[in-house]
């Protein structure tokens, strides 16, 4: 078996840059849709709140409430959706 050709990823001009790590994507998603407060938090505290926020999001989306950034959760975060927050604020 030949080694899979390593895909070269390029940044396309004019694209709304979205090359984020999964963690960055999750953090942005949870804040944008009202699951997590947007003000900054200390390291430890933010871990707790992220897990809590993830569980809230997983419940809203009908996913298994693991509090982890697992594959189904990440897929759901990439799925096209409405821009209105899920947690009224």
């Amino acid at each position: 078996w030949s080694l899979p050709v390593k895909s070269v990823f390029v940044t396309f001009p004019g694209e709304v840059v979205k090359n984020m790590t999964d963690t960055e994507l999750a953090e942005s998603y949870l804040k944008k849709f009202g699951y997590m407060e947007t003000e900054l938090r200390s390291g430890f505290q933010s871990m707790v709140s992220t897990s809590k926020a993830l569980k809230k999001m997983q419940r809203q989306m009908g996913l298994e409430e693991t509090g982890e950034l697992d594959k189904p959760t990440l897929e759901a975060m990439k799925h096209p959706r409405c821009g209105v927050p899920d947690v009224a604020n």
Binding site: F12, P13, G14, E15, V16, K78, C82, G83, D86, A88
Partner: protein, 574 residues
């Protein structure tokens, strides 16, 4: 379901909406229709009604925009956020915004409404064959004027049904040029342009001048996207260029190479490495109807639901035969209650009404139906399941005994002019007026004598109750033999009627039964602002209505067009 804090809702049931601009992805009539159907999802289960405004401030202001589009919540390019809306209230509250970096369709790929041609605005049929070759998009093959066209059936060579595809060479939308096509080259800020451009704008929309010099004339319009145009990227609206070179390799079709998200893209010049011009390839797109129905749910006071199959679930998924989920219905009825008033019931036979004996001036015709006094009874319904709302265009619309009548292919529907009952029918034309053919081009009632005039092709009939005079040739009325048919009739005063054909009209004197001297006159000269090729003209409740396709132009007694709307929703009460 969830409502917004404080159960935000409209304090009135007659909600208004206004469409502020259009997306280049679909014909404006398809966008109008998608929004109207999206509102109907909610009006079907509540007492709410939705009226479209064409100027001023409506409760729900609808607009398309990209990225930062004027509120604190910018969109994010293709995919991701599709749209958002605000809960009911003043100002921006209640408004709905749609991300125009998305590819708006009806959820199953390009929806290409044709214009002109001979298919009466039917959508393209993909794939279609032409000269033995199969096409999955519009083509300029077979033409020398570079206008993209398509067949509206699977086989052009067999059916010869075709229409022209969206192209800036054919028309523009919005702007201030009433849809006039682009003029190339045109001058803008001293530079010459040979194609649509986003220059001079921050919102990324492609536009063009509709005269050769924008700096002088300031006439412009927005360019419709061709069905093969790329989405987003930095070449919005341009078609893919095949082959194109990327990282030194040649590509003859869209590719996801170079991307981590698997999305298909293409170069819009022959060499991406040099020009860096690219865009996403058209895909199934997002159903504007489904997304709008969701956003209008927000605009009425519903927040997101956590029921995966509910319309108010936050994530988009395409549904073929959409119907509102119980959860959505419970939510909206919690706010506004259920739909009041009885459901439409099939029409019951009316009590018969008598009509006068035939007028002594009319010689009875051998096809005279009966000798005894005529009893006009409401005809029995032919097939109540046949829905008039499915028709885009009617053979003719007219007013008989004060009620609107819609004729189509041997049947007709009535809309009572009182109350808000919907249309009744269909009824069979041949059961009411046995002598008539199935296609009626126009009709009118001479109110003083209660005579009904029907026109079909170059013949006409005059009914008085059940007795009929005709068919006779329209030349008997003094119309020239060049007039193939009468498309509209407009009563004017006691015994005058205007008969319309193409861009002209004649005035018929009912007493002398001939057209007056000094005619024809040009419709556009006398009735400014209405389509010159209206296929229906009638008088109703003090206004004159000119119909073309699915729209009507309403003109008041001062001959001003004071409203343009949908025949289907405003007159047929769908």
């Amino acid at each position: 379901y969830k409502t917004f804090d404080g159960d935000l809702k409209w304090s009135h049931n007659d909600v208004t909406y206004r469409i502020l601009n259009y997306s280049p992805d679909m014909d404006s009539s398809l966008i109008d229709d998608a929004f109207a159907r999206a509102f109907k999802v909610w009006s079907d289960v509540t007492p709410l009604t939705f009226t479209r405004l064409f100027q001023g401030t409506a409760d729900i202001m609808i607009s398309f925009g990209k990225a930062d589009h004027g509120d604190p919540y910018p969109f994010d390019g293709k995919d991701g956020l599709l749209a958002h809306a605000y809960p009911p209230g003043e100002g921006m509250q209640g408004d709905a915004h749609f991300d125009d970096d998305e590819y708006w369709t009806l959820g199953k790929g390009a929806v290409v409404k044709t214009r002109f041609g001979n298919a009466e605005g039917a959508n393209c049929h993909f794939p279609f064959t032409f000269e033995g070759k199969s096409y999955t998009s519009c083509t300029t093959e077979g033409r020398t004027d570079n206008l993209p066209w398509c067949a509206t059936t699977a086989d052009y060579n067999k059916d010869k049904k075709y229409g022209f595809c969206p192209s800036e060479l054919l028309y523009t939308f919005d702007g201030n040029a009433d849809g006039a096509p682009c003029v190339f080259p045109f001058t803008f800020l001293g530079d010459e342009y040979d194609s649509c451009t986003t220059e001079g704008r921050r919102d990324g929309y492609r536009w063009c001048a509709t005269t050769s010099n924008f700096d002088k004339d300031k006439k412009y319009g927005f360019c419709p996207s061709r069905d093969t145009a790329v989405i987003g990227g930095n070449s919005e609206g341009e078609p893919c260029h095949f082959p194109f070179v990327f990282l030194g390799k040649e590509y003859d079709s869209c590719t996801s190479e170079g991307r981590g998200d698997g999305k298909l893209w293409c170069g819009t010049t022959d060499n991406y490495d040099e020009d860096k011009k690219w865009g996403f390839c058209p895909d199934q797109g997002y159903s504007l109807f489904l997304v709008a129905a969701h956003e209008f749910g927000h605009a009425l006071g519903l927040d997101h639901s956590n029921i995966r199959d509910a319309l108010m679930y936050p994530m988009y998924s395409y549904v073929e035969n959409f119907s509102l989920h119980k959860d959505d219905i419970e939510g909206i009825q919690y706010l506004y209650g259920s739909r009041t008033g009885p459901d439409p019931t099939p029409p019951q036979p009316d009590t018969p009404t008598t009509t006068p004996y035939p007028d002594e001036t009319d010689e009875t015709d051998e096809t005279d139906a009966t000798e005894e006094p005529s009893i006009m009874t409401t005809p029995s319904t032919v097939d109540p399941t046949q829905d008039a709302c499915k028709h885009i265009k009617f053979d003719t619309i007219t007013v008989i005994q004060g009620h609107l009548h819609f004729f189509k292919d041997g049947q007709f529907w009535k809309v009572p002019n009182r109350g808000d009952g919907g249309q009744q029918g269909p009824f069979s034309i041949s059961e009411s007026w046995p002598a008539l053919p199935t296609v009626i081009d126009s009709a009118f009632e001479d109110v003083p004598t209660k005579k009904l005039y029907f026109f079909s092709g170059s013949r006409f009939w005059v009914y008085t109750g059940n007795s009929v005079l005709g068919p006779r040739s329209i030349e008997k009325l003094g119309l020239p033999s060049s007039v193939q048919k009468v498309e509209g009739a407009l009563q004017r005063g006691k015994s005058k009627v205007l008969l319309f054909n193409g861009e002209d009209f004649w005035r018929l004197d009912l007493k002398t039964q001939t057209v007056d001297k000094g005619y024809p006159k040009n419709t556009g000269d006398v009735f400014g602002g209405v389509p010159h090729d209206a296929h229906d003209v009638f008088q109703y409740k003090g206004h004159i209505y000119f119909c073309r396709d699915r729209f009507y132009w309403r003109m008041n007694s001062r001959r001003q067009v004071d409203r343009v709307g949908y025949v289907k929703y405003d007159l047929l009460k769908c």
